[in-house]
Symmetry: D2
Subunit: 351 residues, 4 copies
């Protein structure tokens, strides 16, 4: 009953097989391997972006921070949601890589930036000339940290505001695939057709050992990114083992299959909790994340039986110390969860 | 009618005279001048802090950023009010000097951090282990950017919370003197006796050409600060001209006289507006800053006649474009303002 | 005939097998996996250092830069050899991670720092008080970038000088194993018994997909390193796949077997070239790197037949443009090279 | 007998008078004062550069670091002489402001970069693609730290090499005036006509309290510089007092008069030492700095009688500890030295 994270589970056999296949002969290091050439071709096809610059790095924090540092100047501020990963979960990596850019926190319901709040925040930021930091890129997380999803029109509304002010846009797609299959749209529609300039196309949370693709639709950013990647220690010598994972992930829509499985697991998990007395959802789950308020007794039955997931504090008070009832739990579903684990959890929660 | 800023006016003759007096003979550079030795002695006396490390720099932004970078690690977050100078008016200097520390914005009425909001922000910040930035110093502005003042007990309440979490505290005292004379307390009471670890003791806004003293009550921070000051280009070779200003400022309580004049000017300015129809104050002015809501007609009479002050936007809309009525104006009084200028402004506003 | 680098070859089956074994069930992410616990135990045993703090990262550049940033302050200078990897091959990663520390280049024959030159460089660096950067850690590369090795007494002589000035020491052990088997000593003897404070224990150049262990003999550095690692984007969520590689590498002395194979390959390669007219070695190869001066004709025969290796410029002139004869070639041997490839190369060079 | 530095002496009365004149009325802060407008006009005229962007800062270290950070990217290396001020005397300010750019040390006789050595250093730096730092700006110091001067053709030779590689050029002109009057050329000839892109036009070492002008001949750099200046805490609120100094300095060629006086003092000081047994010059002094080897006995006579100057270590050994004879002394002449002081020193040295 592992609902703690989408990165605690194993790797699909197909990915492991790709590593084994790649492990033969001598090939050029540092991204000059032939498998990377295939990856570039595939990503450009899938995103309908023949000019795009495409790179691989091993962690989502690195991918986000390197892209933001490429798009932002040190004296700028990045606009992101109050609970975005870049603001809350990366120990200041964007600030570090950008040499001290700020992140301006934009509110919005269910982890989605509110367009009016974004416009107000942008206006506010640039109002004092040289005395205030300058306006920098807008960062959008899809799927969000709350397990919700921006509709294509909602992404478009935010990028439209960015464009109004001449700002670049970044999509944190750590759960890109989960959002895409939920929206049932094309990668192009969810990115550049919606006004996105640079994408972190996540693989790690959706089955890879540790690979994220970075995609710049405008290849002018490429060389600066390459220098930052090397300087940050994120250029792999034995790059073929990153390439091989991503290549297998992209082959025959495997990445979409994995995301569909994870999302289906979440539907089973969430549908099974509807109507249980005392249970309520913070938001309707749209991808593979659920924030659910559970009676403390139900929570204790589940964890005592070995269920793993994170609790969320209110106002900074550790949930163990708080005596709120119900208690807010974050449940995550990965592709690797089995139906019987989910059902066992539901059984425990029902009591 | 110069209400735009407390740094548009001239320098008191006594300060200019001190520069002339200092301008004789050859003396050692870089802070080893004999006048600086006198300044050290005086500041330690005035603050009742015989061990304090004392330095001079030329701008308030430098002073704040250097102190915060001395107190904060790059992976920490500084806690400051939402409209603090360090957050809004220094083009990211604290982020730059600290190599990418964050500033966590703490709300609170009238530019004073709310103690409960501070505690909640601190708790929230340290809740994710290595994934979130760590808790760093608490920065308090006295007098505040809104022209209000923390009572001694209010400073103590905030530093008490900081101490609870083992955090250091910084006082941004760009308008230190204005606050001190308003509170009618001692410098020690407003700083280390209230739990403050490091002070920026402003001179520039209160009559000097450009000098701020930095005071660390714990001299362990001294050497790191000295290296940062040099590395930041803020160590003056002809340091005696900074020392001479500060020395004259401290002599015979001249710094307090200047602040009393500025505050008295503000009382005349604010008292003169009370009861005028359509006029209201954002906060009761306690130092030398006033945020006043004026009918747009009154504002136009004043500025057409040459009055200078800043307007404040609501929601990022430039006040010139907004059609709000009344309009929010920031009026500042310096020691050098004459009563007749104030009275002329009041006359115009009354219409 | 792949002599270009020790990271172009495949991964030993035993390492790949370890990945497959690790790929089962749900485990905690971010270094809390049980295999990492085994790795910690093994490294502490192998290094006879029960208190050591042990971490894994995926690239050598990251490992070096993170360790140096932990040991150095921004206003310090790191002492390293003129052609060290940290100075020449990391795109400024140490400068970036340390927020602008310098690297003072120390000369010395065959890529080994000369002790007198190190002492002179240290003395010189600290001679101007606050005006000059301060003295920081000493970085030693073992095996060196020239394929040579420091004797234990030579490491001791350098760390002795460091200790004299109160400086910390870093060992860049990207080719740790190759040096160790050549010296036939213990890991403790080559590190803390010789005065080293922190080690990058390389795995990638010796057979792993991409894993380097970082070892601090003084665990006081641990927490700061952990924050820097996360902030740099180098903390892996699916950490078990790093752990599994390192665990297999350490089991039954496999890491030593791999290094012995690589070094034996180099002996075959170098011995086979001795006495060939026109061939000379820049230095006697002691590990798995050889810098050899070859007649241009021999070089062309080899490369035309598919041999891969790097050429080294003199005075910055690209070797392709220079008309020097002989030409300096860097040949690297990995564990995976076959004897027949080496022999074929030798045959070609002989002409 | 103050030969320690050109910044230990007093300020010329004419500069002090300018401060007094400027001290009247209310004027706009932060560089929008009317005197600054005059300064801009004068500098553009003096440099025959009607498009130039012109700024003032208060210290030479700030001026150099801000200009270099404007011209260099973090992943680049700056080329400067081995004993340049930016490399040796700024506690790493260029590295700090540029977020970790390197400085590549270029040798050359008498503190002048050797053109061949510069070309070799540039070639070497860019030879490893993404693995090495990239080529950045070339920094030239005029007059040099050794008291020598580049001929115009020598500056041209260096900037020609920079242009060959597409690199920008910076002139550290802390002693700009001393060099100019020695060369008897125009400011344009010594800067943009010789291929210089950005100049630090020093005032502090030549009589001002603390003002350096920064001049970008290509105004495209202006906005980035302005943001860096503010972010570095170097934008003065009461900017008029910087402007007033620079304005008086430029009026009626006063800056040239001061430099002529300082250089004449040096000629008296150096000519008076010629032929004294045991005395030799490291280099023929061309501006206001002299490095002289003196018998230890002569040095002791002089310092016992109160003469002040710096000693220079050989190989990092503090001169006080070394038993070398003669001893190397750095003597500096400012405009304010009196002939009788110089003669008294000469008398002491002669014994």
């Amino acid at each position: 009953m592992f609902f703690a994270s989408d990165n605690t589970g194993p790797i699909p056999p197909r990915i492991m097989e790709a590593l084994i296949q790649a492990n033969t002969g001598h090939v050029m290091p540092y991204g000059d391997d032939p498998i990377m050439e295939k990856v570039r071709v595939k990503i450009r096809e899938i995103f309908e972006a023949p000019e795009a610059a495409v790179y691989l790095v091993a962690t989502g924090t690195a991918a986000n921070a390197l892209v933001l540092a490429t798009l932002a100047k040190p004296w700028e501020t990045i606009f992101g949601h109050e609970i975005s990963h870049i603001a809350e979960d990366e120990c200041g990596a964007p600030e570090f890589y950008s040499n001290g850019a700020k992140i301006t926190l934009v509110p919005g319901e269910a982890a989605r930036m509110d367009p009016d709040a974004l416009r107000a925040a942008i206006r506010q930021s640039g109002s004092k000339g040289v005395h205030s930091v300058q306006r920098g890129p807008v960062s959008i997380t899809q799927a969000t940290e709350a397990g919700t999803i921006y509709a294509l029109s909602e992404i478009g509304a935010l990028t439209e505001i960015a464009r109004e002010f001449g700002l670049k846009t970044h999509l944190d797609g750590a759960r890109f695939a989960n959002a895409l299959v939920a929206l049932d749209c094309t990668p192009a529609e969810m990115t550049w057709k919606a006004g996105i300039d640079a994408v972190v196309f996540g693989g790690t949370k959706n089955g890879l050992l540790g690979v994220e693709a970075v995609i710049f639709f405008d290849p002018d950013h490429a060389w600066e990114f390459e220098l930052l990647r090397k300087r940050g220690g994120h250029l792999f010598s034995k790059h073929r083992y990153l390439s091989a994972q991503m290549d297998a992930y992209l082959t025959d829509g495997f990445w979409l299959d994995l995301a569909r499985k994870a999302n289906a697991n979440m539907r089973r998990l969430s549908d099974g909790q509807r109507g249980i007395p005392g249970i309520s959802f913070e938001h309707e789950p749209q991808a593979n994340l659920l924030f659910v308020n559970m009676p403390r007794a139900a929570h204790e039955r589940a964890t005592n039986a070995g269920a793993q997931y994170y609790l969320f504090p209110s106002s900074g008070v550790p949930p163990e110390e708080a005596d709120d009832d119900p208690i807010t739990c974050r449940l995550t579903c990965s592709w690797s969860l089995q139906a019987d684990q989910i059902d066992r959890f539901l059984h425990l929660v029902r009591g």
